[in-house]
């Protein structure tokens, strides 16, 4: 378990036992800044970091953050590639919420969030997940 997480923390290795993470739906995560969303829109200094694999009722899912200049530049929910429509649904509903929560956290610069996030599925959609992933990736502007 910890070996997986260390791999995630390093950001350079795919999670052990899983194929390389892919965005749900097969498209790269669009940029927060309103870019075209293709690979060409990603700045060369931007680095993706995968959070820990989270077991949910939809199967294993991860939060991925893009770090640029020590700050979260984008956030995505990524899943095992062979997952079904359910995971696409969770992605579609989780992503806009996660994005706006990250912007809130960036402006509030909080270390942690108090409030009911009891299930693993709820955690996946939570700001806390993005904060944890950003901390693991060494981001400095979220706390």
């Amino acid at each position: 378990m910890f070996a997986d997480l260390n791999a995630a923390r390093a950001g350079s290795q795919p999670i052990a036992g899983l194929p390389a993470p892919m965005p749900v739906g097969g498209t790269p995560p669009p940029t927060v800044a309103g870019g075209a969303g293709g690979a060409s829109a990603v700045a060369p200094t931007r680095q993706p970091f995968d959070g820990p694999v989270i077991p949910t009722k939809y199967g294993p899912v991860q939060v991925q953050v893009q770090i640029a200049n020590g700050a979260i530049a984008d956030v995505a929910v990524i899943a095992h590639p062979d997952q079904d429509n359910k995971s696409r649904n969770i992605n579609a509903s989780a992503l806009p919420q996660l994005r706006s929560e990250v912007l809130t956290a960036q402006s509030a610069n909080v270390h942690s969030i108090s409030g009911a996030t009891y299930t693993s599925t709820a955690y996946l959609q939570s700001l806390q997940a993005a904060i944890d992933t950003a901390h693991g990736a060494g981001a400095t502007t979220i706390a």
């Binding site: 909080v110 942690s112 693993s120 944890d132 693991g136």
Partner: protein, 264 residues
């Protein structure tokens, strides 16, 4: 300035537990020990596991004399909390009409998280934050001369924070709320979900007690503000259904809060 972070998320007790450990980092293996402790608590206390001591006790398969010291301590504390909260915190289903259910998890999760924090501290960690499903134990500070900044999730607008608190450890923050899923906390006396309070946050030295108090204040409603004044070391922040915010009177004296950023 680079500071070493040790970040880990563990899924245990049906929730995500996030560790954010700053320097000085604990001795090798301490995080594994803390995580192992949480799984051990889950095995003994979970109401979702048929073979846990709590489940077996609840079904009457074992007696109080059969449970281990931790279980006995937790049950005794839950009884005390029931008395202190004037029945609002009820781990025993004492006021349920149809049989009784034994569920001390409203105290267990916070208690177990405090003990996990003690394990890290015993191994040399001084500055860290453990977030157990939205309830938080803070020790030390995130960096020199800085306080931990804790956001309180807004009960009806998930992308917003209702407020932020600046806290220095040792301290803890517990929030009971309905959020968008609808009422889920049952008033033991009335046997129906409470409606007056949308979110109750309690801050104080022990997360297990803070968690139980937050549950109790959710049920008490606004009268809980008078009740918490009599609980030494514990302060509260309430958001009502009508989006009014209330702070217990000691809040300003004992903690720094950011009054300006309340958004309800």
């Amino acid at each position: 300035m680079t500071t070493a972070h040790l970040v880990h998320v563990e899924h245990v007790m049906g929730m995500a537990v996030s560790f954010d450990i700053r320097e000085p980092l604990p001795a090798a293996g301490a995080l594994d020990d803390a995580v192992r402790w949480l799984h051990d608590v889950d095995a003994r206390f979970s109401t979702y596991r048929r073979d846990s001591q709590i489940s077996r006790l609840g079904r009457g398969e074992i007696a109080l004399t059969d449970v281990d010291d931790d279980v006995r301590f937790v049950l005794r504390t839950c009884l005390d909390l029931n008395a202190i909260t004037e029945g609002a915190f009820d781990a025993f289903g004492l006021t349920e009409r149809h049989g009784s259910t034994l569920d001390p998890s409203g105290f267990v999760k916070g208690w177990a998280t405090e003990r996990a924090a003690d394990i890290l501290e015993g191994a040399g960690a001084r500055n860290f934050c453990v977030n157990a499903g939205g309830d938080i134990v803070l020790r030390g500070t995130p960096m020199a001369l800085r306080a931990w900044r804790v956001g309180i999730r807004h009960p009806s607008r998930p992308a917003r924070l209702a407020t932020t608190l600046e806290l220095r450890g040792p301290d803890s923050v517990a929030t009971s709320a309905t959020y968008e899923r609808g009422a889920h906390i049952i008033d033991p006396a009335a046997q129906r979900p409470t409606t007056q309070v949308a979110a109750a946050t309690v801050i104080g030295p022990d997360l297990g007690i803070a968690d139980a108090y937050a549950t109790a204040m959710f049920i008490m409603g606004l009268p809980g503000l008078d009740w918490i004044e009599a609980q030494p070391g514990y302060d509260a922040f309430l958001i009502t259904r009508s989006r009014r915010t209330h702070w217990s009177s000691d809040f300003d004296r004992s903690r720094r809060r950011n009054r300006d950023d309340v958004r309800t």
